[in-house]
Symmetry: C2
Subunit: 412 residues, 2 copies
């Protein structure tokens, strides 16, 4: 069973943390270095050449039936959030290494190389900028981020030098489209859908695009006892109506739309004062950009109407926007074949969370395989994957690799 | 015009503040002493005997047609909230003094004494316990409050001694029911109803009772992108539905019910995380206790139903409860007569805010006369009363005093 070895390594990597209190493995920290060395040792054990690239990604290469062939790139990230689970990211790296190790044990060489990347920073905890590792590989790394400062005031440039990396060398980490057939990532679902479907794995259709908005409603603060209901301009009652409307709108959608109000602030914030000002955030995601943009427009329209009817001033701004990153149909079909090949029902779902594929799409077609995680819980020490599911994921990924046909062959 | 003198004194008293930045006149502060001395000087100018009682109330007495008669007690408070308006409280004291001064100028003596009390602490800013002055007079002062500490750690007992008062003497400030015919307070409305009615004054029916509740909803936190709408247990969406339901329920009521959610906290409080836990406050007031209790029960029932339908855990607790304090019918009728006597329409309204009458009810029948304030704004430096309205209030109060018949005569 590949699963046993995978779980053992998940635990070994999960013990590398800035504190024993909880798991936190942050970009360019001493733990980053220790984890990189461990992953490189696993890669070498699997018959791969391994090195650390200019941004701190761990890069392993297993040659194909002749040297220098374009590669199937696999990977995931090995940085974590603070108080993280140990599966988010590492499972994709460790499983890919386990697959290559299996090929290597059998002396199998394929008509393409396999590369595995452990991305140095996907979560963006330290410098508030995500996907740093995969952006470097995709050649879209923004050098302005080198001047970003961490909580201690250290710039990323300074942190790289302390770590032993050369900030001037990041461009050299970039890969060419011609070097890659595709990028495929195995990752825990971080949601409850596979559990609900009673399936160990799922085929990702797209990494959903997201629009984040900030809404501010202003009415009239007043004494909770002295202003009759009919004379109120209660900003919180207005915000509550908006929150309910967002939920209703998204629930009525049948195409993967999700909408979340995660933050609400009501001022002045006293039990006996009618709130005069309320701000809230709105996070809207869908696996299709046009669908999301249409939904955002309709939701904003409803909020505008609610504010107008209640005589509340409204300001609403887009604070963040991510395009949808679709999984390539030809590649997704091969992932689905591998799922069916292991005897599992093929279930497709969008990824509502962001992943390195969002950067990799700039130099390669991408696909993703999700592995069920308990309760859909992630970014939490309670994050858990059953060993049998880790094994299922590994068998599917191995089947996918062994049967992989590059796009030219796929379209022939 | 009595109004001019009243506005002059409002401004004079309003300048006595712990800071020139904003108005703040706090219990047992140096400004408390300065204000007390000023009010006592006004009382003496109006032909009254004046003294500071054991809790720091300013007490003035204008004898009737023979010494030692039971009194009609008038009054209000002269402490303020921080960043206060200058009318909330002082208007009632200053107007009552102006009325007595008018009687005194004319040498008029009535078949009852008139007493005016400037209550030392109604707002409860310093020791988080309200109505300290009127409770002392009503004999319901809780000596445990003497051990309450202010923000600097000073106990009320210590603050009283520093001020020059004897904490052991508070019981001596208590008055007997037989000494009072009634307690009548003139106060700004602190709400927008009189302005909407286009009336300078209004007759209060009752000081509304209030129930304050704290509700806690627990669902399941989750990633804003990865949990489909149908699988969510979003505590904030649930709270929003409750907030809308409270508003709808109170709006549908035609009998003075008001309900306010003033505080809401959603956790963990990140834009990309579905809130797992939300707490909010609920303030429900009505001019009738039974009506309020019925309304609270029905609102709680609706919240319970919403939580149940959404599979959210609910905890809901009553954190505070005030009975309704009704204005005595015989006394209210005399206030209404005085309003009509000045040619104004008689408009009755409940007081949604608390007042010293809530304590005074324990030793006397009470009534209140409201004076219009601009925009209903109070507890704010923008608090404003038109001089013509201050004058109208004074004329009505004077007419009321001159025509006052004690209850025995009223029921004859």
């Amino acid at each position: 069973m590949l699963g046993d070895e995978i779980v053992r390594r998940i635990n070994e990597l999960g013990a590398i943390s800035e504190t024993s209190e909880h798991l936190a493995r942050i970009f360019l920290s001493p733990e980053h270095r220790i984890a990189a060395d461990l992953i490189m040792s696993w890669m070498k054990d699997a018959g791969m050449a391994a090195h650390l690239d200019a941004i701190g990604n761990v890069c392993g290469r297993y040659e194909g039936d002749r040297p220098g062939l374009p590669c199937l790139m696999l990977g995931s990230h090995y940085d974590t959030v603070r108080d993280a689970g140990k599966w988010d990211g590492p499972l994709g790296i460790i499983t890919a290494i386990a697959c290559v190790a299996d090929l290597n044990r059998r002396g199998a060489r394929l008509p393409f190389a396999i590369e595995i990347v452990g991305f140095a920073d996907e979560e963006g905890v330290r410098f508030a900028s995500t996907l740093l590792g995969s952006r470097a590989i995709a050649g879209t790394f923004d050098n302005a981020v080198l001047d970003a400062r961490d909580a201690n005031g250290l710039t990323m440039r300074e942190a790289m030098v302390q770590f032993g990396l050369d900030p001037g060398g990041i461009a050299a980490a970039a890969r060419k489209r011609s070097e890659l057939h595709a990028y495929v990532e195995l990752h825990i679902e971080q949601g409850p859908v596979l559990e609900q479907q009673n399936l160990p794995v799922g085929v990702v259709t797209a990494i959903s695009g997201a629009t984040r908005l900030a809404a501010h409603l202003s009415g009239m603060a007043g004494h909770a006892g002295t202003v009759p209901m009919a004379l109120r301009r209660d900003a919180l009652a207005g915000a509550a109506e908006c929150i309910v409307a967002v939920e209703q709108f998204c629930k009525a959608d049948g195409a993967g739309l999700v909408g979340t109000v995660g933050v609400v602030n009501a001022l002045p914030g006293a039990a006996n004062v009618i709130p005069g000002r309320v701000s809230f955030t709105l996070d809207i995601r869908a696996p299709d950009d046009q669908h999301r943009k249409q939904a955002v427009a309709e939701i904003v329209q409803r909020i505008v109407a609610i504010a107008k009817r209640r005589d509340l001033l409204l300001q609403i701004d887009v604070t963040h926007e991510n395009r949808t990153v679709p999984c390539a149909l030809w590649l997704k079909a091969q992932v689905a074949e591998a799922v069916a090949g292991e005897g599992y029902g093929v279930f497709e779902l969008p990824s509502g969370a962001g992943h390195d594929g969002m950067a990799m799409i700039d130099i390669a077609d991408i696909a993703m395989l999700f592995v069920r995680c308990r309760g859909g819980i992630s970014h939490n020490p309670a994050e858990h994957v059953e060993p049998a599911d880790a094994d299922a994921g590994a068998r599917v990924l191995l089947g996918f690799i062994e049967n992989f046909r590059p796009p030219a062959a796929a379209t022939a």
